[in-house]
């Protein structure tokens, strides 16, 4: 019998919570004492409202989208990173169609000043790789990475391979988890 949508949501809620907890437990001490990890819930979306009018913001994307996304993809993973009560970053991704690979689709950190700006992508990557392991995915993808300096670094030092764009799907970095 196929699991109902609600059953899948609940089962993967447990994986999501575990992945955030494990990622948090694994952070270096200075980050662990300063940051907390959570999902993208109403608190995160309320805090996001303050990002909308920040002149340094590079995209005008509305994170409210994540509500529907998580309903549409019950196995998706969402992460928010907090420094005290200040929202520092959010990210969203999902397993591929066959569930063999986990996509990290989009990360945004707070525009402007962020005390731990250089760590935000790594925290997301750690949490997504952990979630991938927990749900049985074999690989992690960073979808359509735009910064070529970081692409080269992840390829030379992070064990990633760059897969070219194909049949309407964007290029991505991929590594085993």
């Amino acid at each position: 019998m196929q699991a109902s949508h609600q059953e899948v949501l609940e089962r993967y809620d447990a994986f999501r919570a575990q992945a955030r907890d494990i990622a948090y437990q694994s952070l270096p001490k200075h980050l662990k004492s300063a940051l907390t990890l959570a999902g993208i819930d109403h608190m995160a979306l309320n805090a996001f409202a303050a990002w909308r009018n920040m002149s340094e913001r590079k995209v005008d994307w509305d994170w409210e989208f994540s509500r529907g996304y998580k309903t549409f993809y019950p196995k998706a993973f969402d992460l928010s990173v907090w420094e005290g009560n200040r929202l520092s970053a959010m990210s969203l991704g999902r397993p591929t169609y066959h569930g063999t690979e986990m996509r990290l689709d989009f990360v945004e950190r707070v525009p402007g000043t962020c005390l731990y700006a250089g760590d935000m992508f790594s925290i997301s990557l750690l949490a997504y790789e952990t979630y991938a392991s927990l749900i049985g995915a074999k690989k992690i993808r960073i979808m359509n990475p735009l910064n070529d300096v970081l692409v080269k670094y992840y390829m030379s030092h992070g064990g990633f391979t760059l897969m070219p764009s194909k049949k309407g799907n964007p290029r991505y970095l991929v590594r085993d988890v």
Binding site: V110, L134, P170
Partner: protein, 53 residues
Amino acid sequence: MSEKSEYEKALEKAKKRAKELFEKVPEDIRKELEKETILGTPDNLKDRNDEKE
């Protein structure tokens, strides 16, 4: 394998990975990471519903 051991296995793996991600970052890459506010694009979140993705 019990759920607890899966958790512990994932925790052990994450701790090792955290060392690579946080402790071995060259200064120029750290600066690049500090400069960027986005990774990927929101377009990645469009539903392609593609079996061959």
